[in-house]
């Protein structure tokens, strides 16, 4: 700084006059603006997470109460017997299936007339009839007890409702009316007595069932069609396995105690691992996410199975092989797909694709394809195909980016060593951009898992774990999805009810799934940036 004693020294001016608003310079204002925007985004995300959790977390308490009343009212106890009855029904279904195959063989291969074929199956039908009737004693018990247990549950629910009513009256200060509300406490011990009292009867019934089954097994007739005999042998084994479960069931019933508390984690595992999503049932509601998750997974896998080769293939083609005219044509076209509203795609799926797929599946010469022919127009395959369409632009764009980022020098070096175009693509370009491609696929998966409209319209919406045991033909089964169920049911449930909260929890699960997928995608991209520079 210049000092007054030496006025000749030139002043070294580096300061600059700045206009200030609210004490901030222009630069600082711009900074504050952008910083503020970023902050708002972060806060909104945090709020979403918070409210999602707050709404969802209530679910576990409610679900625990839900499971507790299932136990208190004896529904659980009755379900032991019911399970036994249902397992038996599954076995009779198996028998029925064998009969159907035999009949088909007789008429189609051996060219019997229908009457003749039925006649040859007479001894089988006789056996099947005896086998089916064997369960009667247990069935009778179950249907009686179902009513009793339902009555207890209803009584309890009414009691809970009056409690709420009284609390509402109290909260608005109507003390007199509140006092007038009578709450009938449910004495579970005495209510359950008639149910528990049937244990000896059940024991007897079980013995009879066992004797019946063993007797019918002993007189099992030989099938008229020899080639189907292995199925009957398998049936015998299944029956023996079934009989082996009897003691376990009995033991469980003997030690059953309605007072046993339901731990909170049961509510959690019941949700995460529950194999049933059953709502508004007269018996018992179950909120298990597995069928929905499995549906989402199945559809996503189908979609990726189709979209990955298409998206990555198109990306490689456009970036490495196509002429610039082709590039100019293909790129905007694929990117345009993502501009189609998904509800329009869903509409297309119902009106065109579903029909077309079903028609194709019913072509005789295509019967060898697993799952063909199918009769459901709306199924996982239809939805998967449409979701593939949605995933392709995402995968294509990101994969093309990744491939484009491979330095040209690698390609030139490869060519200079005498590699063909295909060798260069497969050995240099794809490996060098692999992590980018993988993260493109993951983000495509995220896109597909979160897609709602298309699956709601086209997946068939049957809440059931797809039967993976039938192999590839599982893809033609109708399924329901996590996103679909929220969209479908959220509008109809009373706010704050357990069903409402269960839907929130499905949303939370989706949120975590998306988070996980994004996390991995980013991790992979980061690694990729380091390796290619």
């Amino acid at each position: 700084m210049s000092s007054p004693s030496s006025p000749a020294a030139p002043t070294f001016v580096i300061g600059k006059a700045r206009t200030r608003m609210l004490g901030l310079t222009l630069d600082e204002c711009i900074q504050a603006f952008f910083g503020g925007n970023a902050l708002v985004a972060v806060i909104v995300l945090a709020l979403i997470t918070f409210f999602l959790f707050r709404e969802g977390a209530q679910f576990f308490n409610q679900n625990r109460d839900n499971i507790r009343i299932y136990r208190l009212a004896g529904l659980e106890y009755v379900d032991y017997m019911r399970q036994q009855q249902e397992d038996h029904t599954a076995l009779t279904r198996y028998l029925f299936d064998v009969r159907l195959r035999t009949l088909k063989h007789l008429t189609e291969v051996e060219h019997c007339s229908l009457a003749e074929a039925n006649a040859r199956l007479a001894s089988f039908d006789d056996f099947a009839g005896r086998y089916g009737d064997a369960i009667e004693p247990v069935r009778g018990l179950v249907s009686d007890l179902t009513e009793v247990a339902t009555a207890i549950k209803t009584k309890f629910t009414i009691g809970e409702d009056t409690k709420i009513q009284r609390e509402q009256l109290l909260s608005v200060g109507k003390t007199a009316e509140a006092a007038a509300v009578v709450i009938q406490p449910v004495d579970f011990k005495s209510e359950l007595a008639p149910i528990l009292g049937t244990l000896p009867a059940y024991k007897e019934a079980a013995v009879v069932v066992r004797k019946n089954l063993e007797a019918s097994l002993a007189t099992i007739p030989a099938l008229p069609v020899h080639s189907l005999q292995p199925r009957m042998d398998r049936f015998k084994q299944l029956t023996r396995d079934y009989l082996a479960t009897f003691p376990t069931t009995l033991h469980a019933m003997e030690i059953w105690d309605y007072t046993r508390p339901v731990p909170l984690w049961k509510s959690f595992t019941g949700f995460m691992l529950g194999r049933q999503w059953l709502t508004a049932s007269f018996w018992q509601d179950w909120y298990g996410i597995v069928p929905l998750f499995a549906g989402s997974l199945l559809i996503s896998m189908i979609a990726l199975f189709i979209a990955v080769p298409l998206g990555v293939g198109a990306a490689i083609y456009v970036n490495q092989i196509a002429s610039s005219t082709e590039q100019g044509l293909i790129k905007p076209t694929i990117e345009f797909i993502s501009a189609i509203p998904s509800v329009v795609l869903g509409f297309f799926g119902i009106a065109v694709l579903g029909q077309a797929l079903r028609a194709v599946s019913q072509i005789q010469s295509l019967n060898w394809i697993p799952g063909f022919p199918f009769s459901e127009r709306l199924n996982a395959l239809t939805a998967g195909c449409l979701l593939a369409l949605i995933a392709v632009p995402t995968i294509f764009t990101l994969a093309e980016d990744a491939i484009n980022n491979v330095p040209r020098a690698f390609k030139e070096a490869s060519f200079a060593l005498g590699a063909t175009r295909m060798q260069t693509i497969l050995r240099i370009i794809v490996p060098a951009s692999l992590s980018g491609i993988v993260s493109a696929i993951l983000l495509g998966l995220g896109r597909v898992i979160g897609e709602t409209m298309v699956v709601l319209l086209c997946a068939g919406n049957r809440i059931q774990i797809p039967d993976f045991s039938v192999g590839l033909s599982v893809v033609t089964q109708p399924v329901h999805t996590m996103t679909g169920i929220i969209a479908q049911e959220m509008g109809e449930v009373p706010q704050g009810s357990i069903h409402y909260r269960a839907l929130f929890m499905v949303g939370v699960a989706l949120f975590f799934l998306a988070l996980l997928i994004n996390f991995f995608a980013q991790k992979i991209v980061r690694k990729y940036r380091i390796s290619i520079g």
Partner: protein
């Protein structure tokens, strides 16, 4: 469109230039042995009346050049004069660029026209390898970098690959530095090592010709001298064509030198003559460092 005026004369002036001063002391010293190589060289590559275009833009004008077998030829000239373009024509790397065309002339190697109808560019590139200005090892291990050329030809035998890796790395004077880390990434080497790795990768497929486009421009003097020593060794076995901006390097390494200007070949002669006694005033101006 640029109209082509055939200019067969080596001394034709394409653009006005400053008049060169009388030859004085050149900044370059030419080793006397360089030109006086024993034995008579035979022509390997014959470029005749070659015109080359990037789209409508002509990059090479009527090039006539005979390159000797088992010798080092240097291409020199100011930036943008077409050295790289010509070099990349020799192994048809320019085929990869859209819109390039050859309107006239031919290039033949051992009397085979490399742009002929039944020539496969892939096969050609196996015979004519290339080392680039910026070292470009693949993002793979050193071992895989070197075996890449053989693997794409279908060689799978481990013993054969091992053998080639050692031989090529020794040939590229890199063996002792990397023999313990063959399976580490080639990107982990220093710049000079990477460039020698690229040379090793090129010689692994045993080409006849190695094209080098400014192979030392990104290297420090020590790495450069290593590569230059390597070139001396390699020319016993390979025909080498090197593009360089360093007069010293051209003088040190090459047997013959071609000087280009504005897409035309101005002068081509023994390196010794080019540097000590150029016939063309433009050449003289360039090698004496007065323009370029």
């Amino acid at each position: 469109m640029v109209t082509v005026t055939p200019s067969p004369s080596l001394t034709s002036t394409a653009a006005p230039m400053e008049t060169p001063a009388a030859p004085t002391k050149f900044s370059v010293t030419v080793p006397p042995a360089s030109a006086a190589k024993s034995g008579v060289a035979t022509t390997l590559i014959n470029i005749e009346n070659f015109d080359f275009y990037y789209g409508a833009k002509q990059a090479l004008f009527d090039i006539n050049l005979k390159l000797d077998d088992k010798r080092v030829t240097a291409f020199i000239g100011p930036s943008g004069c077409g050295k790289s373009t010509l070099l990349r024509c020799l192994n048809r790397m320019n085929d990869l660029i859209d819109g390039t065309s050859i309107k006239r002339g031919s290039i033949s190697i051992r009397d085979v026209d490399i742009y002929g109808r039944d020539v496969d560019a892939i096969e050609l590139r196996k015979r004519v390898g290339m080392v680039f200005q910026k070292s470009n090892p693949f993002p793979k291990s050193i071992y895989e970098n070197i075996t890449y050329g053989l693997r794409i030809q279908g060689v799978k035998t481990k013993s054969r690959l091992d053998e080639v890796v050692e031989k090529s790395l020794r040939g590229a004077a890199l063996w002792d530095e990397v023999k313990d880390r063959l399976h580490e990434s080639g990107l982990g080497l220093s710049g000079g090592q990477q460039q020698r790795l690229c040379i090793a990768r090129t010689i692994a497929v045993e080409p006849e010709v190695i094209l080098m486009d400014e192979p030392c421009s990104a290297l420090d003097p020590i790495a450069t001298s290593k590569v230059e020593e390597l070139i001396h060794e390699l020319k016993k076995q390979f025909t080498i064509i090197i593009v360089t901006h360093s007069m010293q390097q051209a003088a040190r390494c090459s047997d013959k030198t071609a000087f280009f200007y504005m897409g035309k070949l101005i002068e081509y002669d023994d390196t010794r003559n080019i540097f000590m006694n150029p016939a063309n005033p433009q050449t003289e101006a360039y090698v004496s460092g007065r323009f370029g």
